[in-house]
């Protein structure tokens, strides 16, 4: 019934447009077939009563015609619907009224007086599933989007400029793969295929077609589950009008980048020398931009430059007087970077209490290569580190000081229960193939700022002291979705923790160093240098 009302409203609207124009003046108009403009010559016209178009428009509608009685022609759509339409002579060209054409082949007309545009909406005439192919017959060519919803075992087809015959309808299909098709309407004509299981599909028809054909079959190549990577948002241009340094506390300041709209930010971080780099993709610097507004004792200098290779990329470099942490907030008219010392920084290393965790132990050997066990090397390095820290005056506790078997949770609990300032877990790495990987990795948990700063500082110290291959300070999320067990337990405890992989036990170069006291001494000195940079703000080298 709603369908009928819709149709009458359309006709009513068309006729309303017709009535006042008694004088037969024609104006050129646009005819849109769905979202595509019908390209015909001469142009379709509005004669004050109705929209008329040359016969060639029927090609764009994939309809055919033949002469009937008098001035009439019979029009037949691709799906076989037909009806008669009277032709009208417009300035010597034979034209046909579009409302008549649409009545004959099925569909609706929408007239927009403001833009002199007539939009044709196709009718979905029928849906069938034959020989693994879903066929959607429309009154004239349309475009559609097809996607599959793997978790729900569904294929969803949407036709933006079409309407179903009825509001909502279900079509039983009952093939071994497709149970049924459900037809619905909300702004677009939608067809949802309910599948027995997830089955691949392939669109066989042209991008614009009056019969949409979609093959749904197990014989098609399997669609691989794509792990979605977050898409970088398009860099909307924005203008930087000024930069301001606002002291917050003795050791804390905020850098405010004033913008004329919401900006974009990506950051990079360094500890040797301490630096925070804020990249501003999309940024254009205003001519008058002032960067000498305010200062802070922790901020050595601040430079804002337009990247030479890109007129819409700027870079704000903050050189700092010590290792700091930061967080960035992007607001409608500003980018705010809050900079503060990391948790546990300040004072001297001599004031600090550090829990050192030699990985594995007892029945858990960790990685091994012949008779070389990770658990033993970890303990040796930990003991070396303990003496180096004690030499600095720091208090130290090892989670195990012998070959004991320990669970993962209790290790971090030592640091939490004894209110440690830092937790450092010592490990050696290994992979499948001998001599294929070498070097040091330092892990922090997820993207927590203080552990990240500690990992960066210690990693820089260790690489510089040992000259080992730098395999970067990284988030433990790059290894495992929930991170490293001992670091995860420190979440929200205020104890910054890191895990140092001191070398590859299955690489002969790394192994000969790991089993050498002198190398382990260098490692310990490197970790101490990183801790001192973090706590006392001393340079790493």
């Amino acid at each position: 019934m709603k369908q009928a009302i819709w149709a009458s409203v359309t006709l009513l609207l068309l006729l309303c447009a017709i009535i006042p124009g008694a004088r037969a003046e024609t104006v050129p108009v646009r005819v849109m077939i769905g979202t595509r403009q019908a390209i015909v010559a001469p142009s379709p016209v509005f004669n004050g009563k109705r929209v008329l178009a040359p016969l060639s428009i029927l090609n764009s509608l994939e309809a055919t015609y033949k002469a009937a009685q008098g001035d009439k022609i019979t029009i037949t759509s691709a799906s076989g619907q037909s009806g008669e339409v009277e032709t009208v002579d417009v300035n010597g060209t034979k034209m046909i009224p579009m409302d008549g054409v649409i009545s004959a082949i099925g569909g609706d007309c929408l007239w927009d007086e403001e833009s002199n545009t007539l939009t044709l909406i196709a009718r979905v005439q029928s849906v069938e599933f034959v020989d693994e192919v879903l066929k959607i017959n429309c009154s004239f060519p349309v475009s559609c989007s097809v996607r599959n919803w793997t978790s729900g075992n569904k294929i969803i087809i949407e036709i933006p400029s079409a309407k179903h015959v009825a509001e909502a309808q279900e079509v039983f299909i009952g093939s071994p793969v497709v149970t049924r098709a459900r037809l619905g309407q909300d702004g677009v004509a939608r067809i949802v295929l309910d599948l027995e299981k997830n089955v691949p599909f392939k669109v066989l028809s042209q991008p614009v077609a009056s019969q949409i054909q979609i093959k749904v079959s197990e014989s098609l190549p399997k669609v691989r589950v794509q792990v979605e990577k977050p898409k970088a948002p398009a860099d909307q241009p924005f203008t930087v009008t000024g930069v301001e340094v606002r002291p917050v506390r003795d050791q804390q300041f905020e850098v405010v980048v004033h913008t004329d709209g919401k900006g974009n930010v990506s950051t990079s971080y360094g500890v040797d020398p301490p630096q925070i780099v804020i990249k501003l993709p999309g940024a254009i610097l205003a001519d008058s931009v002032d960067t000498h507004n305010g200062s802070h004792s922790m901020l050595k200098d601040l430079k804002l430059t337009q990247e030479s290779h890109s007129p819409t990329m700027a870079r704000l470099v903050m050189n700092l007087n010590r290792v700091m942490v930061y967080n960035v907030r992007v607001e409608e008219d500003a980018i705010r970077v809050m900079v503060r010392p990391p948790d546990g920084a300040g004072g001297t290393l001599a004031d600090k209490f550090i829990v050192i965790d030699p990985g594995h132990g007892g029945s858990q050997n960790g990685a091994c290569n012949g008779s070389v066990y990770e658990k033993d090397i970890n303990l040796r390095i930990a003991q070396e580190l303990a003496s180096a820290l004690e030499a600095e005056g720091a208090r130290v506790q090892l989670t195990r000081n012998g070959d004991a078997t320990m669970g993962l949770a209790v290790r971090s609990e030592v640091a939490i229960n004894k209110n440690a300032d830092f937790f450092i877990s010592i490990h050696c790495n290994s992979n499948g193939t001998k001599n294929s990987a070498s070097g040091i990795e330092t892990y922090y948990h997820m993207s927590e700022p203080s552990p990240l700063a500690l990992a960066y500082a210690v990693h820089a110290g260790v690489c510089s002291a040992t000259g080992m291959c730098d395999r970067k300070a990284r988030s433990d999320k790059s290894l495992y979705n929930s991170g490293l067990a001992v670091l995860r337990r420190l979440e929200n405890t205020g104890v910054p923790g890191i895990l140092v992989e001191c070398g590859y036990i299955n690489h002969s170069d790394d192994r000969s160093r790991l089993t050498d006291t002198r190398y382990r001494k260098k490692l310990a000195d490197g970790i101490v240098a990183g801790l001192k940079a973090y706590v006392e703000g001393t340079p790493i080298k």
Binding site: Q3, A4, A7, S8, L11, L12, L13, L15, C16, A17, I19, P20, S103, G106, D112, E113, Q125, S126, E128, F129, V130, E132, T150, V165, A166, Q169, V171, G174, S175, P176, V177, K197, N198, S217, K222, V225, V227, G359, H360, G366, A367, C368, L408, H427, N429, S430, N431, G432, T433, S436, A437, G439, C469, K477, S478, L479, Y480, S482, L484, L499
Partner: protein
């Protein structure tokens, strides 16, 4: 539209309204006679998909398993499509094919600890696949955090990818029991989700 109309002659309006009413009625009749109410039915003369021969030959199926690759010292997991004659649930088949890579050449053949077997069929409940492996899985593992990460993510990716969206997380059991860890770095007490950081980025 139709806003421009001046109320000039009332006779004109009567005529117009009559016309509208007539046309609307005609339109409705026209629609009713054709489109509306016409049932949309699948073509029943040709029933969809019947394969008469699917009992005879051994069906070969494809599974995707995830194996490690080292590129310039960086580790990645890369999908590898394997054809198998193994029968049964696709997740069991995929797991068996993965466990069977032990001894293959390169990094891939050294992934799964030697002798690891699938002890029971992979069960999926609310998006979590439960995989029950034999004790060799933990007994014969001797890698570092890198190797442990590759083994666990390889299993998780393999199950997620072959499940057609059914599996989101994976719970690994050893001899039917939940275990704390495989190699002493990552916890296995909760179901794990594979992380995209290990997948080789597209060139």
């Amino acid at each position: 539209m139709g806003k421009k109309k001046q109320k000039t002659t009332s006779i004109g309006w009567v005529v117009a309204l009559l016309l509208v009413a007539f046309s609307a009625a005609a339109g409705v009749t026209y629609y009713m006679s054709r489109g509306v109410g016409k049932p949309i039915v699948p073509n029943q003369s040709k029933p969809a998909v019947v394969k008469p021969h699917n009992v005879q030959p051994t069906p070969k199926r494809e599974v995707a398993i995830y194996l490690p690759e080292v590129v310039h010292g960086a580790f990645y997991l890369v999908p590898s499509t394997r054809t198998t004659a193994l029968e049964g649930d696709i997740l069991d088949v995929a797991m068996k094919v993965l466990l069977d890579t032990t001894g293959e050449s390169g990094e891939a053949g050294k992934l799964i600890p030697k002798g690891t077997e699938l002890l029971s069929t992979v069960k999926v409940n609310k998006g979590v696949a439960v995989v029950n492996l034999s004790k060799e899985f933990t007994d014969n593992f001797s890698g570092g955090s890198t190797q442990e990460s590759l083994v666990l993510n390889s299993i998780a990716y393999t199950l997620v990818d072959n499940s057609n969206g059914k599996v989101k997380k994976v719970q690994i059991l050893v001899e039917g029991n939940a275990v704390e860890t495989l190699g002493g770095h990552f916890e296995l007490t909760d179901p794990m989700e594979p992380d995209s950081a290990l997948l080789k980025p597209d060139k």
